[in-house]
């Protein structure tokens, strides 16, 4: 068993464990395990206790599953370490729900929102002076795609009609070239499309500090958009590096076989660093310029619209996506038909690519 194979099997399990463990740290203080809490209750004993318990539980789960992945690696078929991610994620979800249930119970028993003025705040400047989509940051992804197309065009005449891929399958050369370009197109389109939608969606504005939280959200959106578009370019680069040995440009062996994973891993680290720096919606950013505008009340208790604390379903809300409830990012509004279409389109495109790849033996 080579070091590269072991790392490829174990690192995703370890990364998922670390991700689950760190999510509460990047989530807003007023959103604890999917439960909306007033700012003055953000440090309530039940919340502190559940955060601590969740950290220990997810750390133990991550360590346990990593150990399992190391143990089974080399003794089981290669797909087994990948399947380990499913029970690991399920166990993490279980920890989330345990914490959520306990906090929600105390919140309900002590009527945390009773007597508070619950408001929703909109900043009209978000529409009259909207944030700009960072088009220039799309250029690296487009450059990698252009480079891929150029290499493919150069290599195509010299390649045999059928190529033996890294997995040992004989595949028509046109299929090998087309799939790589289609994969790059998919990731670039999905990431840039998502950010375009997010730029048109509503910002996360805190009623307790509306003006400053809007400014922080602008900085968060700018940083996260750039990181995500860079991630698209790095994924494209990984796809190109995966394809080059099949296109007989070079041959990799030993630890060198991990080379194609490096751009992707760099992208994941970059996204993680940006998320850790900004927090959800910019909640960890400095610049708490209190006094820009008076508090407009407390954020509305909207728990009823979040199914299982993670899925947003609100038919009265025309928004396509809203800020994620746990972790950093955005969640679709499943009460909006367009969100279903968007999700179905994304999954269908991904499934088509996977099926084409499988049919071509890649």
């Amino acid at each position: 068993m080579s070091t590269g194979t072991l790392l490829a099997a174990v690192l995703p399990v370890l990364a998922v464990g670390a991700l689950m463990c760190s999510l509460p740290a990047v989530t807003r203080p007023t959103l604890q395990f999917g439960v909306r809490v007033p700012p003055e209750r953000a440090e309530a004993p039940v919340i502190r206790g559940e955060r601590r318990a969740y950290s220990w539980r997810t750390a133990a789960i991550g360590a346990g599953f990593t150990l399992v992945a190391v143990t089974v690696q080399g003794h089981c078929p290669s797909w087994v370490p990948r399947v380990i991610l499913v029970p690991e994620l399920a166990a993490g979800l279980g920890c989330f729900w345990v914490a959520r249930r306990k906090i929600a119970a105390v919140k309900s028993a002590d009527s945390w929102f009773s007597g508070l003025r619950q408001t929703v705040v909109a900043d009209t400047r978000w529409r009259t002076d909207p944030p700009r989509f960072p088009v220039r940051w799309l250029l690296p992804a487009l450059a990698v795609m252009a480079a891929t197309a150029a290499v493919a065009a150069l290599r195509y005449p010299g390649l045999p009609v059928h190529i033996v891929t890294g997995s040992g399958h004989r595949v028509p050369k046109s299929a090998v070239l087309a799939l790589v370009v289609a994969g790059q197109l998919y990731f670039t389109a999905v990431y840039s499309g998502l950010m375009l939608i997010v730029h048109r969606s509503r910002p996360d504005i805190e009623a307790a500090d509306p003006a400053a939280s809007t400014l922080r959200y602008r900085r968060f959106l700018a940083a996260f958009s750039r990181a995500l578009l860079t991630m698209a370019a790095l994924i494209d680069a990984s796809l190109l590096l995966i394809a080059l040995p099949d296109w007989q440009v070079y041959r990799l062996s030993g630890i060198g076989r991990a080379l194609p994973v490096l751009p992707f891993a760099a992208g994941v680290l970059l996204l993680g660093a940006v998320a850790a720096r900004t927090g959800q919606g910019g909640s960890r950013l400095n610049g708490n310029v209190h006094g820009l505008a008076p508090a407009a009340g407390t954020d509305r208790d909207d728990d009823r619209f979040w199914k299982a604390g993670l899925l947003y379903v609100n038919r009265d809300d025309p928004a396509l996506v809203v800020g994620a409830r746990f972790g950093v990012g955005w969640a679709p509004n499943f009460g909006n038909r367009a969100a279903w279409l968007l999700a179905a389109g994304t999954v269908a495109a991904w499934a088509s690519l996977a099926l084409l790849g499988a049919a071509a033996g890649m």
Binding site: R117, Q118, T119, V120, V121, A122, D123, T124, R125, W126, R127, T128, R200, S201, R202, P203, I205, A207, P210, A211, T214, A293, A296, G297, R300, N314, D316, D317, P318, A319
Partner: protein, 134 residues
Amino acid sequence: MLLSIEPDGPVPIYQQIRDRIVEAIARGRQPAGSALPPIRQLAVDLGVNFHTVNKGYDLLRQEGLLRLGRKSGAVVRRDAGSGPPDPGWTQDWAARLRTLLAEAAAQGMPATDIVAECETAIADFAFPAAAAEA
């Protein structure tokens, strides 16, 4: 302009939208000629139905404070510096004000407190300099 509403409050949401915009115009935060977000975008930002925002904007249009155009969108039509309103409007407003002041008096609020509240509110509005000095 920051626009805050209470979705679960007793006042209808369209009325709250209308009230907040009127306050912003009076305070000089939305002067005449300034644009408001399109109906659909404000509905997304507030998480309410399009028709709710449309109703609020339509109220403002009927009151002559907003101009709604297909190309220009929603634009503020009047502000504190736009000159005196129609005499008919002033009469209606005076009647509503009397009722509002009568409510305070009926609840036992002293006249000095009523006047103080009125002065505090007026001090927050952006009247043109010449008119304020007069």
